[in-house]
Each structure stands twice: as C-alpha cells, then as structure tokens.
C-alpha cells in the first residue's frame, strides 16, 4: 500500500512539474496565478499522500497550513495592481 501511495505522490509531482510550463508560457499574470493555485492544491495532496508513507503524521498539519497560505496568497496577489493603480 505504501508503494502505491508513494507512486501516487510521484505522479502528482509530475503533473505539478507539467503545470509549471504554464507559469513559463502564461501570456497573462492570471495564467501564472492559476498555475500557483494548482501548485497549492497539488502540493497539499502530495503532503497528505506522503504522511502515511514516511510515518510523519505532522505532515497533515503542514498541509492544513499550506491550505491557509494558498488562500491568502491568491487574494493578496489579485489585489496588488488594483491598490497600486488606485493610489496613483
């Protein structure tokens, strides 16, 4: 079972790497932000899958913190330009 979980985490890591292509190409900042959101969700899934494999239950708590930070990051980056422009 642990081998399966580790393989699943590896597959998720590969899809995450493929998502990075969109960060590189992404014509608009929105596309890059979407890729960042993908990295957030996939990273959480990887942590959850690895927690039983490496027998570190605290990784689930790390995933919880990641979920919180991903929400804050997207909100902060989408507000950035608007406040900058309004101030001018």
């Amino acid at each position: 079972m642990n081998t399966f979980l580790a393989a699943a985490a590896l597959i998720l890591l590969l899809t995450l790497g493929a998502g990075l292509v969109r960060v590189l190409l992404g014509p608009t900042p929105s596309d890059r932000l979407m890729a960042a959101q993908l990295i957030g969700t996939t990273g959480i899934a990887i942590l959850l899958l690895l927690a039983p494999v490496v027998r570190v239950p605290a990784l689930v708590d790390v995933a919880l913190v990641f979920a919180l930070l991903a929400a804050v990051a997207v909100a902060a980056f989408t507000r950035r330009h608007q406040t900058f422009r309004d101030r001018q």
Binding site: M1, T15, R22, P57
Partner: protein, 98 residues
Amino acid sequence: MSPADWLASGLIAAGLFFFLAGTVGLLRLPDPLSRLHALTKADNLGLLLVSVGLLVQDPDPLLGLKLAFVWLLVLMAGATGAHLIAKRAVRGDGEDAR
C-alpha cells in the same frame, strides 16, 4: 491487500485522474477563463477523492477531521480565488501595467 486497501487505492487513483485532467486543462485550453474553469473544479474534486481514500485506508477520527478541514479550506480558497482571478481577467487589468 485487504478490501479497504483496494477501495482506498481506487479512490486515490480516481483522484489522480482528476488532478491529471486539471493540469491537462490548464495546459491545453485556449483562453484564461476556460483554463480557470478546468483547473478549479478538477483539483478540488481530486483532493476530495484522495482525502477520502486516505481516510478509508486509516479510519482515525482526528485524521478525518483534519482532512475535512483541509478540503473545506481548499474549497473555499479555490472558489474565492477563482472569482478574484476571473474578475481581474474580465476587467482586462490582468496585463502587466507598468
């Protein structure tokens, strides 16, 4: 492998499929809004299936509570983030303004 392990494997494999679909959508769809559509739904469903699979494999109430919180947080963050990104993209201020 026990029946619970088989069920967990099936759920996690289904979750992986949705993650894969989300990434393919992000890479292949033509414009930002359809990419957003593909990404936010597929990933949340994938995370749900992976969490339920892990819970089936290790039925612990505390772990279940934590996984539920992780999923709900990601769901709320995904919905809010999708609206914020879509609003920016529609208003056209998604471009680099210098």
